[in-house]
Symmetry: C2
Subunit: 758 residues, 2 copies
């Protein structure tokens, strides 16, 4: 495919490079309006308490303070995606340490902070549910006493502190265990990690006199935020305009309302524009960090290494609100199967309320947690069977044309190629090259999220092209990928595409920059619009040049008819603007939604992975004999991307995903004590820095998707999935120590070693 293309498949510079390189790009955190006020949020220090009294009178009288709002100033509505259990400010009950209690707008951030300190709060602390075990204990108190009355998606299975139980059942898992030669049972645990986006969440809101509010936000999902703000503010959704100026990273942490509602409420109260931006402390205590998980796996295999049955359960700590937990629990069931052909499955995912912040989606949500368990156990089983872990995987992985765990027929399955190439690149033949040094491998699959994308496209009078898309560019260069598709199809250069994006009023609906879908779905919508525009251009050119349309060629911004007859796109655009209405078009694309209704068993809607990607990670590392400290020497990713739209930026996604994954694997963890975060700052919360991250070698495997533009699959999330498992397997290979609780710190390794080496 790439041989015949000009723009797609090439490592062209991203469209937004100049602003990023020169530091002049406007992010939401930079965005300002004249006369703008600054908002700050007062948050609970108690994880669970009754809110007895809140007195803002002293705060409201401080210099520069323009408004102080509490629950009393907000419509008494509960909002939320799958379960409407959230409220803007705690009203009577505080459910986590970090929950908003009040917000202030003042003429400076300092004045706002001073006002926060002047708000008087009286609470009555209550015993808190601090982990999943406590939440599930018989007779456990309820995080939400009114859970049964909440509005929730009908497909959820809720009970008490469980806000969803997802389940898939295939074959007969008990019979499978009976038929197995050996059955392995393990338990794995992971902790909460933060997305670590560079830019804090930020929003500026401004109301006009028609009662419409405009919100400039660094959200990944402007249309989702529009809907939520509509509920909170009690205005029709079209009265809320959400515009995304620029996003300094999201990774799933900016999917849901974070500061936008505070900005909008304070702006309405003050009649002024208001900006609200989070601190690092707020990010680590009250954002949508990754759900901590407990995974129990029971897997039955034959002596010769065929997996016959698996029973798996994953419990997510979703914190005080459901948030994305119910959906992620559903996706987790597919991840527990792993990319393996297993005839008998009983897999369950749970989202469980606790008195912590509402954990949320983070790059391949459920992926790293489930994969850490599955791929750790895969190695354990291989070792127990005396099989090479690579060979054991190759005997069980899904192949072209086979069914996935929920019945979808799998096509473009490049997993074997990924495994073999990653293994070859890491030098798998020599798994333990030296004492204390070992290699590990892990593989997985992931979805290309569906959802609708629409685009408007027009040809400008200088022959360039303007693309309106509702998708935000969140730093992945995915819109560059979509623009490459448009440029390819219209026969122009990437530099000729001008993008306006992510404005709920002026751009078409888009399901948003989530789920590795942007280049895929927006790219396909661009193809539809380009096809329409090409027809228009050829019709106009044929009339203009006096030839049949069939005699025309369109390439390089020029339509040629042979015999020297030609018209540039610029000329044709001007001609159409002068006397033809202008060259404009629209295009839409939709992929089947996930989860979707392929199957529904006992009331459980089965998810499926659309245009799934496949990947294998391999790592070569050493473990310090004394301290247990891990040094990663090499890291290889072989990823089936379908079609490499822009190899450089895919490699960038892989490098970034691995860096984040190594953080979760080795060092990152939001530490709690009595329901309060101990390390709510970027000194004590240990993200890897440039010196910690090895050079990542990327191998782009290309088994073209039948649906993606030019065969492309989603690429952004997958690189974050396998690092914990790959590292755990390499550490086990290097040391014989199997760590089943993330992060794999030096301390854990050192303490787990049976004895210190001499």
């Amino acid at each position: 495919m790439s041989g015949a293309t000009r723009v797609v498949g090439r490592s062209l510079p991203r469209m937004d490079a100049p602003g990023k390189v020169t530091g002049t790009a406007i992010y939401a955190a930079d965005f300002a309006l004249p006369g703008m006020l600054h908002g700050k949020v007062l948050r609970s220090r108690e994880p669970h308490a009754r809110l007895l009294r809140i007195d803002v009178s002293r705060a409201a009288g401080l210099p520069g303070v323009r408004a102080v709002i509490t629950a009393a100033d907000v419509a008494d509505v509960r909002y939320g995606g799958s379960v409407k259990d959230e409220e803007v400010f705690a009203r009577e009950r505080i459910r986590f340490a970090g929950q908003p209690l009040a917000a202030v707008a003042a003429t400076s951030p300092e004045a706002a902070a001073a006002a926060l300190a002047a708000i008087e709060i009286v609470v009555e602390p209550l015993p808190a549910i601090l982990d999943v075990a406590a939440a599930l204990a018989p007779g456990a108190p309820l995080v939400h006493e009114g859970w049964a009355d909440y509005v929730a998606l009908p497909i959820l299975h809720r009970e008490r502190n469980v806000c969803n139980r997802a389940r898939i059942v295939v074959g007969d898992v008990e019979r499978g265990f009976v038929e197995s030669d050996r059955v392995f049972e393990h338990r794995f645990t992971t902790r909460s990690v933060h997305q670590g986006y560079t830019e804090p969440r930020a929003a500026v809101a401004h109301w006009d006199s028609a009662g419409h509010v405009s919100v400039w936000s660094n959200t990944q999902l402007p249309f989702e935020i529009q809907g939520t703000l509509s509920e909170i503010l009690q205005v029709p959704s079209s009265g809320v305009r959400v515009i995304v100026p620029g996003v300094g990273g999201g990774f799933g942490g900016k999917l849901r309302v974070g500061v936008e509602h505070f900005a909008a409420l304070l702006a309405r109260k003050t009649g002024r524009a208001v900006k609200v931006m989070t601190t690092s402390e707020e990010e680590l205590t009250a954002a949508y960090a990754r759900q901590p998980a407990i995974v129990e796996l029971r897997t039955g295999v034959t002596r010769d290494g065929r997996i016959l049955a698996r029973e798996g359960r994953l419990w997510f700590d979703t914190g005080a609100f459901a948030g994305s937990g119910p959906g992620v629990a559903s996706v987790a069931t597919l991840m527990l199967a792993g990319p393996y052909r297993i005839p008998n499955l009983l897999l369950e995912g749970y989202a469980v309320y606790t008195n912590k912040t509402n954990f949320g989606s983070f790059r391949a949500p459920s992926g790293p947690q489930a994969n850490f368990a599955v791929e750790s156990q895969t190695d354990i089983i291989a070792d127990a069977l005396g099989l090479d872990p690579l060979e054991f995987r190759l005997r069980n992985i899904v192949r072209e044309g086979e069914e996935g765990p929920t019945g979808q027929v799998l096509t473009a399955v490049g997993l074997e190629e990924c495994l073999r190439k990653a293994a070859a690149a890491i030098g798998w033949a020599e798994r333990r090259p030296a004492p204390g040094r070992g290699k590990g491998i892990a593989c997985g699959w992931w979805t290309t999220t569906g959802g609708s994308s629409g685009v408007y496209v027009k040809i400008n009078p200088d022959g360039t092209v303007a693309l309106n898309t509702g998708a935000a560019e969140i730093g992945t260069a995915a819109l560059t990928g979509a623009a490459q598709v448009l440029a390819e199809d219209l026969g122009v250069e990437l530099a000729d595409i001008h993008v306006v994006s992510a404005d709920t009023l002026s751009t078409p609906f888009d399901f948003g920059a989530q789920g590795s879908r942007t280049a895929f779905a927006v790219g396909n919508a661009c193809r539809a619009a380009a096809a329409d525009l090409t027809r228009q251009v050829l019709t106009l050119a044929a009339r203009h040049l006096g030839v049949e349309e069939s005699a025309l060629q369109m390439q390089g911004g020029v339509v040629t008819a042979g015999e020297g007859r030609r018209a540039t796109l610029a000329e044709l655009a001007r001609l159409s603007q002068a006397s033809g209405g202008g060259l404009i078009a629209h295009g839409t694309f939709v992929a089947p939604p996930t989860p979707y209704d392929t199957k529904r068993v006992e009331g459980h809607v089965y998810p499926a992975f659309h245009s799934p990607s496949f990947h294998a990670h391999a790592v070569d590392l050493s473990v310090d004999a004394v301290t247990g400290e891990v040094s990663v020497h090499r890291y290889v990713v072989a990823q089936d991307v379908g079609f490499a739209m822009n190899p450089t930026y895919i490699e960038g996604q892989i490098e970034g995903g691995v860096a984040q994954g190594l953080g979760q694997a080795l060092s990152e963890e939001i530490l709690y004590e009595d329901g309060r975060v101990l390390n709510a700052n970027l000194t004590d919360y240990k993200m890897p820095t440039a010196v910690d991250v090895p050079r990542v070698e990327s191998i782009l495997v290309q088994h073209p998707s039948l649906v993606g533009p030019f065969g492309a699959k989603g690429v952004g999330e997958p690189p974050n999935i396998e690092p914990p498992a790959a590292v755990a397997n390499a550490v086990a290979s290097a040391t014989g120590v199997r760590i089943t609780d993330l992060p794999i710190t030096a301390e854990k390794i050192a303490l787990a070693r049976p004895e210190r080496p001499a």
Copy 2:
């Protein structure tokens, strides 16, 4: 038509009313960016001079000054619409008093003004050409010595100080005069008047690091400004984004680059956002006020009052640059024919260079000047023939199906109805009800300007509709009219339409808010988009409801299938967003451009009036016996609007157009002495105020256009055409004094009276 409609044809409140009423609407003059600088322009005091030296060093060193630019800082390009004769700053030759010489950006308007005063200029004054007669005199010096080398539209006829001569020839005018019983020759003159928009011209410019500039401007024509800035700044047009926040009136005065280029140049130089806004003095000395005109008419008639022949010439003083002069001269030829059936015509329009500001387009450009001459002479001839002026008109006006002067077949000709209704309303039977009191009538026709309009339209998840149009709302409520069309066709309410407009990047091309075309052309583009969306909605609803499309009805935001089966637009939009790509569409419309190639005679391209409107004005006034002061008692307008999309706003257009027309008729005049404006302030430049303007009675005649949406014709410009002629005719009726030079001041009447009454 209106009986069957819900939204069109109703006087619904305009969409932008809340912002206007509460004063919170953001106009370009209000628009601000953080850290923005303020720009001011140094202008020549000499009408004609050699620029010997310009020294900005002292100015550049003053506090707060961030940049001072002159011609030396600007690419040496000449720009302009039909003739590229303009330059940003005078380079060697100064051609009018008011021409820009330098511009300053500073941290405050005051600092910028102080810097202007510190710029040292040395000039050598030259003799100036101050009127058309001087410009046309044999051996007159040239305003542009290099005129022949300028790039110009090939259809222009240029020679020395004439930058266009337009001509139409019909029949044999000399033979027509021979066959006439009487031939009348008259000369009429008009002066320059300013559009009097409330908001001065204003622009804010900001460059990004990719070398693209965004300009927030109150232009009527963002796409035109984009093209001009591209030439001046020497960047591709798609590197220039022009956004119109809001416009406080345009009337043709904001069609061309005014302050945008200064803002963009200063912003590029300083690396900061820069705002430039005009003062009243700049508006009255260096804006695009209406061209002064000289009109000579020779008209041959039969004894029984049939017009057989007319030779007419109109000379526009276009000032130092061609600007819109060449095009307006062409339109003038049609206006010299008047709305009359005249078998023999020789009509010419001239645009002539002088050393004055570049006069330009003003609401029905050429209309008031030509109509004042034509309709004054019509009354003179009727009086001379002993015919009632109304009766004389009725014998000669064009009728349904007849050809216009350049051969177009006229349809929907409501002129007789307009004349009869206006006459009846004013009480024409009693033309001179008292000494010193008289009634006058005048009629005319005007075009609905063609050009392309494109729209993007989507249905929002709350069932409302978002419309993207490239047209700016300049205060006429024309976009409300277009939105009414969209609401009508989609079966929703006007309040359900949300508009984003006039952004060269995010909205489709639009020929712009000019020529009474916005509601007409954007409305038709909306109809195309609505038809597409309706098809999409019905297809989706049929599938959703399980019925045939043919069984569906779409109205009031609901699709019904009988038997209680129904789906709201909101439901269908959400359904489509969830699993169908979203309900989005585009639509375009183009009307034949004006001028156009219906005929081309001896190299002259003949203009035509698309979907012409017809109108008659009648006025009842008194003239003070001593002072000559005119008091207008009643003013009646009967206008064939085709279809009254929104009667209230059409009446508003009529009232405003009459007010402006009475200003030109009675008091307004930019006074020159030695090439300098004497009354460059709003105290000495006499615009009518609320107490000067009578109550205007509007009669909306509806002969539906075959092309306009629901039959609508352009309505914005026409009300400005006839007031001078109607007033002149009424003054003559009241006093016997015929004033042929505008404005008809008390002084002129008093001095022209043969003797004072007793």
